[in-house]
Amino acid sequence: MDAPRNPIIEFRRICHSYAKPSGEPLVVLEDINSALREGEILGLLGRSGSGKSTFLRIAAGLIKPTSGELLYRGAPLSGPSEGITVAFQTFALYPWLSVLENVEAGLDALRLPRAEMRRRAESAIDLIGLDGFQSAYPRELSGGMRQRVGFARAIVADPIALLMDEPFSALDVLTAETLRTDFLDLWIGHTLPLKTVLLVTHNIEEAVLLCDRILIISSNPGRICAEIPISLAHPRDRLGDEFRGIVDEIYSTLTLRSLETIRGHGQSPGGLALPLPRASVNKISGLLETMAAPPYAGHAELSQLARTLALEIDDLFPIADALHILGFAELTGGALKLTAAGRVFAQSATDERKRLLKEHLLRYVPLASHIHRVLEEREEHWAPHLRFKTELEDHLTRQEAERTLGVVIGWARYAELFGYDARLRRFMSTIG
C-alpha cells in the first residue's frame, strides 16, 4: 500500500445515541474514527442492528451525530451537502414520477436551466443503461431496473462521494451480480468524477468482491472492531485462495465478536443480560441435522455453510449463536463444531428432542430457568409478561428484551418447559 490518501469524509470521535423511553441513552455508535479516502471503495460490514445505516446517514448529513466531529473535504459537515449522494436499499424512487423525473430530482438543488437539466439526466440514464425507459414509471420496472434508476439519480449531479446503503440486498442473486459488475466497470473505468464510495452491506462476499478496505462494525454499541485492507486486483475470483482466505478471516472476526458478546453478557448477575438470538427451533434443528450429515460430519466452516445453504450472515449467525448458547455446538475460529448433545439431538425423534432442549434450556439459558423457577414457586403458577420484561430491560434495550422474551417463549413452548398466553400476556407453568 502507498501512503494514506486524502480523506474525503472524515469521522472524528463520532458518537451517536437515541433517547430510550426510559430516558437513558441507547448508544448506537461509539467513538468512530475513520475516513472515506480518495480512490477507494470502503466497505462497512456488520450484522443487523449494528448501526451501519446510522454510520451512512451521518456521513450523508441526514443525521446529526450526538458528539464528535465530521469533516467533508476538511470542513465541518452539517447537513446534506453538494457532492455527497445516497443510493438506498429500497431504492426510494417516487412512484408518481417517471424515470426521467426521478433522475432529474437528483439535480434539483443545482438550479440548472431546464434544457441543461434534461441533458444531464439523459446522459446519466444513458450511462447507467436505462435508455428507452425514460417515460416509464417505477412500478413498471423490475427490481434491478429500479435500482439502476436509483444509481442514475445518485450520480446525475456528479457527486464526489457516493454512499450506498445495502444497494443490492433487495435484489435476487443474478440481478445483484449484474449490477455489481456494471457498477465496478463504471468505477474502474473512471467514467465518473466520483472519488470515493461507501458500501454498507451484510453480505461478506459482496464486500470482499467490491471493496478496497473493509471496516467490521460490532453491535451494541456499534464500534469498529476490525479493519481489513484488500489489495486483490479486479476482477476478483470468488473461488481464488486469497479471496476465500479473506472471507474466512472475516468470519473468524465476526465469530470472535459473537463469542465475546455471549461471554460478556453471560457473566452479568444471574446471566439475564444475555440477549437471545432470533432462531426458531426449526432452524436450530435444520442446522443441527445438516451439520451431523456428510460432508460436515459435525464440523463446518461458517463460510462454507453460508455458501452451500445460501444464508446471509444475518440468517446464519443467529442460529450459530443459538447452538452455541444451548450447548449443541461450539463456535471456534470461523467454524462450528457439534457437541455430543448436538449429535444426539440431530438423530432423535421429537419426544427426545423436546426432553433434550428442556434440559439444555434449564442448564444453559439463565432466563429460561429463571422464568421456570418463578412459575414453580408462585402459588397460582402464572406470572405476567411485564414482570420479566421490566427485569430484562435493566440490562437490554426494549427491542432486545422483547425479542429475547419472544425467543425464549418459542423455545420453551417446544420443550414444554412453560407456556405463554398471548391474549392475557402471561406466562404459565405447564404443570399448573
Binding site: 446517514r57 450523508a60 448529513g61 441526514l62 446534506p80 453538494e82 455527497i84 449522494t85 445516497v86 438506498f88 429500497t90 426510494a92 417516487y94 412512484p95 408518481w96 414520477l97 423525473e101 430530482a105 437528483g106 434539483d108 438543488a109 438550479r111 417505477p138 412500478r139 439519480r153 449531479a157 391474549r423 392475557l424
Partner: protein
Amino acid sequence: MLIGGVWRQRLPNWRDLAAIILVMAVLGFIATAGRQSVAPWAAAQQPAISLSPAALPLYASRTTARMLAALIASLLFTFVYATLAAKSRRAETVLIPLLDVLQSVPILGYLSFTVVFFVSLFPGNALGLELAAIFAIFTSQAWNMAFSFYQSLKTIPHDLDEASRSFRSSGWQRFWRLEVPFAMPGLIWNMMMSMSGGWFFVVASEAISVGDIQYTLPGVGSYVARAIQERDLGAVGWAIGTMTITIIIYDQLLFRPVVAWADKFRFEQTAAASVPRSWVLNLFRRSNLLRLVGRPLGTGLHVAANARLQLPSLPVHLRRGPLLRRLADVAWYGLVLALIGYCLLSLVRFVGSALSWRDVAEAFSNGALTLVRVAILIIIATLIWVPIGVSVGLRPKLAEKVQPIAQFLAAFPANVLFPLAVFLIVRFNLAPRIWLSPLMIMGTQWYILFNVIAGATAYPSDFREAAASFRIRPLRWWRYVMLPGVFPYYVTGAITASGGAWNASIVSEAVSWGPTKLDGSGLGAYIARMTQAGDYSRIALGIAVMSFLVITMNRLLWRPLYRYAERRTRLD
C-alpha cells in the same frame, strides 16, 4: 365506498339509474301511505323537554340507547343483505347498485318521510318516533357496513375457502367460522367511521317538525332544539359538554374494547407493530367473575355457530342444466325490469300531479348554489388542513397526540355546535347566505385533517431521506415529493367531508335562534323549507336533485380522482 381507507368500485352506470328510480319510488310510497294515516297522531302528548342540566344524563342515555339499537339493526341488516348479495349472482345485480345509490341519498332529507311513516305504523304511540330516529341512525351506517362486509366476502382468499370446504363445513358454519371473522376488521373500521354520522343524525332526528306537527323525543338533540327555542346559550353549553363526555364514554366502553378484541381477526400473520389495547377488555378478560358469567354465553354461541344448518339445495341434475339457468335468468331480469318500469310510472304519476318544470328548475338552481358552497368549502378546508396535517403527520410524537383529537372532532355532532355559530351570526348581523355556509363543513372537515395526518405518518422515511439528501427545494418538495404521497389519503378524507357537507346542508342552510329565522337559500334550505311546509312532493324533488348531484359528483370527480391517486402511488 371506503374500506380501511381503500375505495373499491367498479359498476356500470345503467344500474344506478334503475336503483335511483327504485329508491325514489319507495320513498314516494312511504310518503303517500304516511300522509293518509297521519291523522291519528295526537300532537298533544309530546313529552316536555326540561332545560335543567340535571336532566341531561338521562337524555344522553336515551340518545345512546338509540345509537346502540341502530348499531344492532345495522349489523343484522349487514349480515343478511351483504351475504345475499355476495352469494347470489342474481341478487347481486340488484342489491349492490341499490346500496350504492342509498348511500348517496341525503339521510336528513327523508327524515320527514320516515317519521311520518313510522308514526303511522304505531298511531298514538311514541314507539313509532323512536323507530324513526333509530332508522335515521341506521341509514347513516348500514350501507357502509353492508358494502364492507360484501367486499370482504368477495375477497376471501381461495385457500381459506377451500380449506373450510374440505372440512365439509355447512354454509352456516362457514359463515361464522370463516366469513364473519375474516370480514371483522373492515366491518369494525367502517362502523367507527360511520359513528360521526350516527351522532349527527340522532341529534337531528330527535326534534323535527313536519308540516304543523312537532315531533319530539327526549334526548340531547331535543334538548338542544328546546334551548334554541328558548335562546338559552348556557343550556347549549351544557349539551356540548354532555355530548363530549358521552362520546368519550361510548368510545372507551364500546369501540376501544371491540377494536382490541377484533385484532385477533387480522389476516396478516406477521405481528403488528402496535397492538390495539383496551383497559375495559383487559378488565373483562382478567376478571374471574365475569369469565364465569361469560362461559355459558360463550358455550351457547359456540353451539349456535356449530349447528350444521344447511339450506335444502336443488338436486344436482336440476342445478346443472344450462337451459334451466338461462330460463331463471330471463325470469329474474324480467321481474326486475317490470318492477323498475312500474316504479318509474308511479313516480311520474306521483310527481307529475304536483310538480311542474318550474319546480324542477328551482330545485336545480338551489342545488347549484349548494354545489358551489360545497366546492368552495372543500377547497378552503383543503388549503387549511393539508399543510397542517402534513406537518403534524411528519412529527410522530405530535401526531400521536393530535390524531385522537381529530377523530373525536370528526365524531362530534356539529349540529350541537350550530347554535353557537347562529347566535354569533344573529348578534353581529352577518349575511346568512355567506356565514351559514361554514356550518356545512364544521363537522366533516376533520376527516380531511385526520386522513392527511395518517397519510403523512405512513409516508416512507426513505422518500424523505432521499429528498433531504438531494436537497430538493421547498416548493418542489411539496409539489413533487410530499403532496403526491398523501394524495390518496386526502381524497379519502375529502370524499367523506364532501358527502357529509351535502347532508349537513339540510340542517345548516336554514336555521333559527328563538323566533329569528335565517335562510341561506340553497338546496338544503329548500328541503328544510318544504319539510316545514309538509310539501311531500317537493321534499322528494329536493332529495332527488341532491342525490343526483351527489352521485354525479362522485362519478365525475371523486372516483376518477381516487383511482388516479391510487394508481400513481402504487409501486407494484
